[in-house]
Amino acid sequence: MTDTSAAEREPGPGDGAIVTRGLTKRYRGGQLAVDGLDLTVPAGSVFGFLGPNGSGKTTTIRMLMGLIEPTSGTARVLGRPMPRATLAVLPQVGALIEGPALYGFLSGRDNLLRYDAADPIADPRTRRARVAAALDRVGLTAAAGKKAKAYSLGMKQRLGLAAALLQPRRLLVLDEPTNGLDPQGMREIRSLIRELASDGTTVFLSSHLLDEIEQVCTHAAVMAQGRLVTQGAVADLAAGTRGRLVVTTPDPADAARVLKEQGAADVVVTEDRVTAEPPERDLAEVNAALVTAGVRVRGFGVERASLEEAFVALTGEGFDVAG
């Protein structure tokens, strides 16, 4: 009866907290939401899962959490195949999926007690203490007795996060955890994520906000229209598009001429700034050539590309999303 298909064999365990191969989901309506996703999330990383709204982030997360069945392909979480191993894997995973969902007629504390009771591994003897600790961690101790329907969006989001923190977790899966929060709330959530990551928890963080990923993540993957555009360490992704050489000078015309002579391409002059694709040779020599030619140089350097520029370079389109 056992189904020893691709689900069991590849990819092997131990090569990542999350590993997917050819993961695909076509919804009932025919919508291809995720298309052949090959994702590897290194253990211990803070992994940004970046993409505009509708690019398939939540669908991927639902497949990883065993809520929906992939149309094809495989997913392993903490080395075990999903959705087959949900009961073994999920007690070690805290998740916030597409915003919090709460029982409005229950207090914040009672919401957490219920979610904890749903986990068959959770020890009832330590339940109250763990709930109190989780509430404390997200700063909701004072509001713990209030009915959840009276919570603000930010408080609901934090209560959802608290539910993910009821146990020590090996993996946290957070689907747009700062959605709908004010800047202060965003900062709080981000510092909490950094704190959790510093304890060694792998964090898988989806977001449509580039700067969020740049601020907190060590690794990232970029999604567009259900397909993986790229993945890797954040520093490498940004470096993937080479930075631009920027010279600030009161003699832009001379500077542009010299840069071209030195082999720089795509030279652009804007007032006192000359930018160009850096040539292959040592930049110290380029600088020396400018000075030798009598160009008065105020500033000389390479501007590292941001993740946003990397994204534009990769997809050939802007990262314009509403909300």
Binding site: M1, L67, T86, A95, R114, A118, P120
Partner: protein, 315 residues
């Protein structure tokens, strides 16, 4: 049944092969539950019972059910306030109503006979219909499942809670009726349908037995409601559908031309509980009723399981 089998989570390619693989997978996965201590596994059931009782909807339903014996008791009392027995004794109204003035205990039987055709199963339909669909609509289902509650465990918990509600609702009617009966009418020995006399204590015993049988009569609707609840993500839609099916079945049961199907309608033998008031007890219809309820529970329970364990949770 067939809809549940042919309408699994998987879309597009693969159809049945993939589906059975998926179901095997989940069955294997659920078996890890066996190793978990019972005390921990029971946590969810306890919490579910408590949570259900804290919904205002549950309390409102129980309130309505408690009010029915009060209304019946007061109506009978007013009717017979100027002495004499109720409305000349026979004919109109629910079973046993004519005996209430002689013995308040009969209000228990009358109230159960009055609520079993509609109020009780409607209340059960609301609770059962909301069980899964309500959680799906609120989005709390996904968090229960990633906790991970386990799909089979969650469904069993929901069914057990619905059954507990059946019992509680029936007892609410019975206790309310007994209280009102004791306050408004004399208590004492009573006469069975067969004409023999039994002591008040034995009468109380029969009342309890009848309440248990009435509660058991609701298991079929409970299973049906739970199955409907796995088909939609709207608690309201599931409740309305279940109550609608209840009404439809009750109407079909009244149409003589359809008597071929009557024995298979879950409500057909409901009023057989009155046979517990015969001396000796007449068991045939009682057994048919309980057997039919078990059949409904098996069929719709399996259908609910087949549907729920393969369903895509997208809310």
């Amino acid at each position: 049944m067939s809809r549940a089998d042919l309408d699994p989570a998987q879309e597009g390619t693969g159809g049945t092969a993939q589906e059975s693989a998926g179901r095997t997978a989940r069955t294997t996965q659920e078996s890890t539950e066996q190793r978990i201590p019972l005390a921990r596994r029971g946590s969810l059931l306890l919490n579910e019972l408590r949570t259900t009782l804290r919904r205002w909807r549950t309390l409102a339903l129980l309130g309505v059910l408690a009010a029915v014996p009060v209304l019946v008791g007061i109506a009978v009392r007013i009717e017979t306030g100027d002495g004499g027995s109720a409305g000349g004794g026979t004919g109109e109204g629910p079973a046993f109503i004519s005996q209430i003035t002689n013995n308040g205990l009969f209000l228990v039987f009358t109230a159960l006979a009055a609520t079993l055709p509609f109020f009780l199963p409607m209340a059960v339909g609301v609770i059962a219909g909301d069980a899964i669909a309500g959680e799906a609509g609120a989005g709390t289902l996904r968090y229960l499942l990633v906790a991970p509650a386990g799909r089979t465990r969650l469904l069993l918990t929901k069914y057990a809670t619905t059954m507990a509600f059946c019992l509680l609702a029936t007892l609410v009617v019975a206790v309310s009726a007994l209280t009102v009966g004791a306050l408004l009418f004399p208590l004492g020995e009573l006469t069975t349908i067969s004409g023999t006399r039994i002591s008040f204590t034995e009468g109380l015993g029969r009342a309890l037995l009848i309440a248990l049988v009435v509660a058991a009569s609701l298991t079929g609707v409970a299973a049906l409601g739970l199955f409907v609840s796995t088909l939609t993500n709207s608690g309201i839609a599931a409740m309305a559908t279940t109550v609608g099916l209840l009404i439809t079945v009750q109407i079909l049961d009244q149409i003589p031309q359809l008597d071929a199907i009557h024995p298979y309608l879950f409500s057909h033998h409901w009023l057989s509980f009155a046979d517990l008031m015969r001396e000796p007890v007449y068991w045939d219809d009682l057994v048919k009723n309980l057997g039919l309820q078990a059949l409904y529970a098996a069929v719709f329970g399996s259908a609910a399981w087949a549907r729920f364990t393969t369903k895509d949770i997208t809310t």
